[in-house]
């Protein structure tokens, strides 16, 4: 065998922006990954929940005797067992109910030896209900004579948010054009591949270990504790691999305390795992809303004001979902330079399923409105649509009325990049001219943009993340972070960053982030914050470790640390790249010397942002970014089907860290956005879900994915690792209005509600025809809901 030749010189290279394989890719694609759903603990029991199956009712009586006597059943719980254990954002929820307020309400729960026995036991529970009249839309809920869903919330009013800036009356008076529309956005749900699951286990000291899919383990403890009457410190959260979250695991839902309460009652571990039907009915939704928006501008194209009156369907309980108006507000006040703002949002309790957080968090809903109104204004002004947007686009250094500081701002670059790549202006004109031809298929092109926080979102006092890093005697690094991996790829980002700083292969970095007793604090995976914050935390920790290593190498080789670098598992001279010592050898020397030293460092990174206060005036994120989507579509005017031919995206990402990961996030975000725009729809009839299955709830599948042309704008960012910004939510946010605008371009008809389903499209086209819209530039506002 040839002796392996080792290079004596190693060139400087960088991993930043490279395509790196996701560490769990091989296990996931071969089926080796053991998801929480696969997990079985010794002696584990199976928990099943009896759902009410009616939207609003009083429980008159409940008899569990037969269920308790069924062999194999170890415990049965009902509402009386959890009396007073309220939880939730406004403490309006309990794990098991005595009053039913929505279809999936949990009425009783059973723990048994097998799933089959547990299901059988549910069938033996006798419940007598007295049905009550319900409220099924926010419009109905706020009527004076509406049935009251909860005594403690008069008028069915849940959360309210408002923000005003500038003189609205004056701004209206100086506007030459005002567009005024009511937009309606609908119920959709996350459809994670792994259904909801929790496994709870108590030890005999009363400490709870919960195996959870949560994406915010530390606040989760705090939110779960009141549902169990425990101290959060007595809860340990373990996060096995999960099949997706997308915001749906950013709260505590009743099945989790139920698993814990059953475990407590039986003294055995208990697993609750939803069926797909339960998942559809019980998982949180995106918040539906009715948005009355007005936007004004002057003849020269300058925007004058924007007002938005938002009515939200809270559902029966208040999860995090009803806080989305905080983000909606940022879009209303920050999507283009709008000097005067009047914003008002009220969430109304209904007997519908309740909303949680969902990728895009409110911005998906508002951008559907803002981006269509911008499009309407451009047309009514008869201005070049890109010019109009560019002239109102914010510039670096500007602040929004809410004091979001756009230190770096690449909206103009996003606009021109996407427009140039598609020849937008010419095509839009061309298609617009063809819209009155009598051909069956019509082509359209539409543009939409939005802004989103890209440097975390300081909704708590701290938006930070803790990191610990050790480098062992074999030059393998273990990074312990509070940031969770829910499939989004923080594992790749962090491994890549640590490998970059320590000059070791990416595969030599191990990430530990799934045990709350081990890893330090983090606020959770949300708000597009994890790469920005946990990534920066990892970078800072790695830099500290690197410095410690270089200092030791400096002592060893008697070369100044400044002149050394770490590359490919070696310490080298920075300039020449010549090898000084093998890294693992150095690490062992550091360890086994008279004054032994291990490489172990910690970091807590707090982004430079201000907490979102009650007045909503703060720079709540350490960075902001923009995205522009251009959709090219073909409308089948006979069947109403919209085929998306191509999506061109230009997004300000600051700097690409993990290229394949970013592409994946963007593509996945587009898929979710396309489903929202076109096919996904929770069909609710009096609060009851009619399509709780993938056959009838239509997510976008691979063959429907259009051609994608992704452009990442890399202008850097003063904060954030290597200049990267958060990037995960924007792709979902901008797609629906881009399609709605393209639809208008193709047909001359506006659809102001989601989804643009075939039936709705046909109805809108027929309506418009009946209104005899002949001239291509008159605006038929067929708001079909």
């Amino acid at each position: 065998m040839n002796k392996k030749t080792i290079a004596t010189h190693i060139e400087k290279t960088t991993l930043i922006g490279q395509r790196v394989r996701k560490p769990d890719a091989a296990d996931k694609s071969t089926g080796k990954t053991r998801y929480i759903n696969d997990l079985v603990l010794p002696q584990m029991l199976y928990g099943k929940i009896l759902h009410a199956g009616r939207p609003h009712a009083q429980i008159v009586s409940i008899d569990t005797t037969a269920a308790e006597q069924l062999p194999g059943v170890h415990g049965v719980l009902t509402g009386k067992d959890v009396a007073g254990l309220k939880f939730g954002f406004v403490r309006d929820n309990v794990a098991l109910k005595e009053t039913v307020r929505c279809e999936h309400d949990e009425v009783a729960a059973v723990a048994a030896e097998t799933e089959e026995i547990a299901s059988q036991a549910l069938g033996l529970i006798k419940v007598e209900y007295k049905d009550l009249p319900g409220v099924f839309s926010p419009e109905d809920g706020r009527r004076e004579d509406a049935p009251l869903i909860r005594g403690d919330f008069p008028g069915n009013k849940s959360l309210h948010f408002a923000f005003e800036h500038g003189d609205l009356t004056a701004a209206e008076a100086e506007s030459d054009i005002i567009v005024d529309n009511v937009f309606k956005v609908h119920h959709v749900t996350h459809c994670c591949m792994g259904t909801s699951c929790a496994i709870a286990d108590f030890d005999n000291n009363g400490k709870l270990t919960i195996y959870s899919q949560t994406q915010y383990p530390y606040n989760y403890k705090m939110d779960l504790a009141p549902a169990l009457g425990m101290h959060p410190g007595d809860i340990r959260v373990i996060q096995p691999p999960v099949g997706g979250a997308f915001g749906s695991k950013l709260d505590v839902y009743p099945y989790e305390p139920i698993a814990a309460l059953l475990a407590k009652k039986t003294g055995r571990p208990v697993k609750v795992l939803y069926t797909r039907e339960e998942e559809f009915k019980s998982a949180p939704t995106r918040q539906p809303a009715v948005i009355h928006m007005r936007t004004g501008c002057k003849k020269d194209g300058t925007l004058t004001f924007r007002s938005a009156d938002v009515l939200l369907d809270n559902g029966a309980y208040t999860s995090w979902g009803p806080t989305i108006p905080v983000v909606m507000m940022r879009t209303v006040s920050g999507h283009y330079r709008v000097p005067v703002i009047a914003y008002n949002a009220q969430a109304i309790y209904t007997n519908n399923p309740y909303a949680g957080s969902f990728r895009g968090y409110g911005n998906v809903q508002t951008t559907f409105a803002t981006a269509q109104q911008i499009d309407m204004l451009a047309e009514q002004l008869d201005m070049d649509p890109i010019e109009f947007r560019l002239m109102n686009a914010q510039k670096p250094g500007e602040r929004t009325p809410q004091q979001a500081f756009l230190r770096e701002c690449a909206l103009d670059k996003c606009l021109t990049t996407a427009a140039d790549a598609t020849d937008f202006v010419t095509r839009q004109k061309e298609y617009g001219l063809l819209r009155n031809s009598d051909s069956r298929y019509k082509k359209g092109i539409g543009i939409a943009s939005s802004i989103h926080n890209a440097g975390g979102a300081k909704i708590h006092k701290s938006d930070g993340c803790g990191t610990m890093l050790k480098v062992d005697d074999y030059a393998r690094a273990t990074l312990i972070t509070g940031a969770s991996e829910i499939g989004q790829g923080i594992d790749t980002v962090i491994s890549l960053i640590v490998a970059e700083e320590l000059g070791i292969p990416v595969e030599h970095v191990t990430l530990m982030n799934n045990d709350s007793d081990l890893a330090p604090w983090d606020v959770g995976v949300h708000a597009s914050r994890t790469t920005f914050i946990a990534g920066e935390g990892a970078r800072r920790a790695a830099v500290k470790a690197r410095q410690q290593i270089l200092n030791a190498a400096s002592t060893f080789a008697e070369i100044s640390a400044d002149e050394l670098d770490l590359r490919d598992g070696f310490v080298v001279r920075d300039k020449e790249g010549s090898i000084v010592i093998k890294l693992e050898k150095l690490l062992r020397q550091m360890h086994f010397q008279p004054e032994p030293e291990l490489v172990m460092v910690t970091d807590y990174y707090e982004p430079n942002s201000e907490p979102e206060g009650a007045d909503h005036i703060s720079n709540m994120s350490a960075a902001y970014s923009h995205a522009v989507h251009i959709a090219e579509i073909t409308v089948d005017t006979w069947t109403g089907e919209i085929k998306v031919d191509k999506i061109t995206s230009a997004q300000d990402v600051g700097r690409v860290i993990s290229r394949a990961g970013l592409e994946g996030q963007t593509e996945g975000g587009i898929a979710i956005g396309l489903g929202y725009a076109l096919t996904e729809d929770m069909q609710l009839e009096d609060g009851m879900l009619k399509n709780p299955c993938f056959r009838d709830y239509k997510v976008i599948t691979a063959p429907e994915m259009p051609e994608l042309d992704l452009h990442f704008i890399e202008d850097g960012c003063a904060e954030g690792p290597y200049g990267a910004k958060g990037a995960a939510e924007l792709p979902t946010i901008v797609i629906a209005p881009a399609i709605a605008n393209a639809f208008y371009n193709a047909t001359g008809v506006r659809i102001l509600s989601t989804p643009l389903s075939p039936e709705k499209v046909v109805r809108a086209l027929i309506l418009a025809q009946q209104a005899d819209v002949s001239s291509s530039d008159s605006m038929a506002t067929a708001a079909v809901s």
Binding site: E116, S119, Q120, E277, W638, T639, G640, E641, I642, K643, L678, T679, Q683, K690, N691, C693, F694, R695, D696, K698, I700, T701, P703, E704, S757, P758, E759, V762, R763
Partner: protein, 290 residues
Amino acid sequence: MSEITNYLSPCSLDDAVRALADGDVTVLCGGTDLMPQMEAGQREYASTLMNIRRIEGLAEITLTGDTCRIGALTTVSEILTSQLLDEVAPVLVAAADQFASDQLRNAASIGGNICNASPAGDMIIPLLLLNAVVELASWQDGAIQTRLISLHEFFKAPGKTVRQNNELFAAVLFDKPPPGFVAHFCKPGPRPALEIATVSIGIGGVLEDGVFSDVRAAMGAVAPTPIRARRVETTLEGLPLNADNIRAASVSAGEDATPIDDVRASSWYRDHLVRVLTKEVLNDVLENTN
């Protein structure tokens, strides 16, 4: 929950129909309808579950004389890739191409599709155009007896057919259509795969010298069972296939259809679709014979 106490997997038709004669049997083929229906609590298992997929000789596609025979166990994938069917009845292959997804097609059988008697069953529409008949086998007087029944008389209501509990669906048969016969099938939907028909429609006939004859039309998901669209047929029979007649046929299609509202669409939209799709299918027929 109903309990299965007996599982059978016969290898011969003989054994299968004998078991049926003993009564209380659930027939399992690909299971792609059966399993979801059981899971959803829409049906209950009989005490015996009989898997028929091992029965020999029931998964063949043959042409004897002018008669084509497709065995009950033939999968949609096998139909999609059959050279014989591509020549004899391309419309059936075209419908197979719009059926669910690869995984489903590999499991789903033609017998299951027909016996499930969904008004939206995709294999049924082209077979109605082909004037297909169904062969039912049963065990009587110590031997296998078969009876033939025309496919359009086979369906009674959603999920209900004239098949007796002691009968096994053995095959579907049809005569090779006359020379010059062209037929088209169409099923709209925003997803090219995995779409249960909102409506589906098939029209065929012989187009000679501009005149359309031997017209056969069928529609799915617009009535309690898949139907022959008789008004469409009469409207077109013996007449030139031109824009006026196509328009008239589209109106007739609306009259033939008696759709309902459900989660997939409103009756209004279904009515609209059958009209426009009638135009589409007839235009396709025109284009492909020119």
